[in-house]
Symmetry: C2
Subunit: 214 residues, 2 copies
């Protein structure tokens, strides 16, 4: 599969692009925001496309040209305000979903956040971010695209273990970003996770086995 | 009709509650955020319910008890940040829509904003607000409720004229808040605006006539 990675320069994005580049079956296209981010991907021999999520649906659709799948792992990040949460995490996702529908790029994977469907578990400080993720996920589920929504727990930079717990709802817990990237890779063409939403933290199960049980 | 007015203490909300209170056909219930706002509505002999849009769907559903229609004219306002835009204008609306679905309150009117479907017309400063309104409107349209989405142009405090221009898209232009309230009143049980989205500015047409043409 040719996979557009939206948010390729993010921490999960970089892990995931490497996994795709090392995989014999897949080819990543790294969608990045600014030209300064190109050199890193050049060093991996990965094709890039410079397209901002604050641009138009048409620009995002053009970035998707020839791709079989889209993985959305972009986020405005903790360093910006809630205005960027609205523009990137919500509307950037919505525009990417519209672009996928317009271009017939039917396979769409979303990196969401644990408990994004449970308003009662959103702490005050994080609630605005969760509003954006919750509704972006709802837009994807209503889109008619073949979606997978992956909701990791507390992200860490620990090395991946390749072992997770995955169910519709899990209790809070950590998971290395590298393992989230591995779950994305295993989810791309695993029928068991088509049109599913699930949460992941580190656990005892091999990723493939955990996904097959969903 | 017994009408829950969400955002009753806002500028459009106050006009609209008065119109309902003066109407022989309708009874307003003013949904307000804090107890300090009760006395104003007591002076109009209008029933109030104190319920925050940052509360739960269940709390909002309880406020709706026995109502035939909901009018959403709440907004976090220009004095707060984009975090409140996410919590009130987007998720507060979404929770109110969910509450209406749960309670079978089928008639739902939304005060939106001109050009909320046209990303190319959103200025940089106002874009985050528009993201919230755009997606709240989309959530309502997908809800299965009998909706009317009214998108006024530049709101003014001029006295209402009772004359408007109303079409799917209009060019920018001003409209008194009092006229927006009148459009809400005329829209409540006008079949021509059921499941419609339209924009309004001041114009030449009587409100009823303008709505009948939609």
């Amino acid at each position: 599969m040719k996979v557009l990675v939206v948010g390729a320069n993010g921490q999960i994005g970089r892990h995931f692009v490497k996994l795709l580049a090392d995989s014999p079956e897949h080819t990543p296209i790294a969608m990045i925001r600014v030209e300064e981010q190109i050199s890193y991907f050049n060093s991996l021999n990965v094709e890039t496309v410079v397209t901002s999520l604050e641009g138009t649906v048409e620009e995002i659709a053009a970035a998707m040209d020839g791709c079989d799948a889209v993985v959305f792992t972009a986020g405005s990040g903790g360093g910006t305000g809630a205005d960027k949460t609205l523009l990137i995490d919500l509307d950037g996702a919505a525009k990417t979903i519209e672009a996928a529908s317009q271009t017939g790029t039917d396979r769409f994977l979303m990196v969401s956040a644990i408990h994004a469907d449970r308003r009662d578990m959103w702490g005050d400080d994080i609630a605005p971010y969760y509003v954006a993720k919750h509704h972006a996920d709802n837009i994807l589920r209503a889109s008619g695209l073949t979606y997978t929504i992956i909701r990791p727990g507390l992200l860490t930079n620990d090395p991946g273990t390749g072992r997770i717990k995955a169910t519709e709802y899990v209790d809070a817990g950590p998971i290395p970003r590298e393992d989230v990237a591995k779950v994305l890779l295993h989810s791309l063409n695993n029928l068991h996770v088509f049109n599913k939403t699930f949460e992941i933290i580190s656990g005892d199960d091999e990723i493939e086995e955990a996904l097959n049980r969903l």
